[in-house]
Symmetry: C2
Subunit: 102 residues, 2 copies
């Protein structure tokens, strides 16, 4: 993974609101959630939620699919997996023993 991609992921998750959105969608798995459900669930005003969903989607943390008049959002689990691999390399540089865990 390129460093600038990693930075964009860190930016995406560097807000408590966005981390909450992402964690919620991870829990929902392939079902995902439509925007209104997320807004209700996390009690975020629609305009503000849109702002954060856009940021997350642009940085590929989320995917979005139109479903009638709804927009269904899903977490990009693969990207998280790639991030973990990136961090493991960074973290283990010269110290592999620290990263062999559960």
């Amino acid at each position: 993974m390129e460093n600038y991609i990693a930075v964009s992921i860190f930016e995406s998750l560097s807000s408590g609101v966005r981390l909450d959105i992402f964690r919620l969608l991870i829990k929902k798995g392939f079902d995902g959630m439509v925007a209104g459900e997320i807004a209700t669930s996390l009690n975020i005003p629609p305009t503000n939620l849109s702002f954060h969903l856009k940021a997350l989607t642009q940085n590929r943390l989320l995917t979005v699919e139109q479903e009638g008049r709804f927009q269904r959002y899903r977490a990009n689990i693969q990207l998280m997996s790639d991030l973990i691999a990136y961090l493991s390399e960074e973290c283990c540089n010269g110290h592999p023993e620290h990263c062999l865990e559960t």
Copy 2:
């Protein structure tokens, strides 16, 4: 790991400058580097470097130790290890198969 800790780590690494600093110090391992070496190595003005070192240190990504008139900084590898564990849980929530990798 508490969510607010994870957010603080993401904030710390959400700047290209700070990610460069952290990656550089990870490479150096226990030796670490004194502030001036980091400034020279990454070509960052001292005041600006201080600003970012302070942010990283406050969020526990780095440790700092005085050494004569130098300040020696080291990466907190254990925290990265904890972050990887946190992400693995978040990422694998209901989808463990995605996170079993190298």
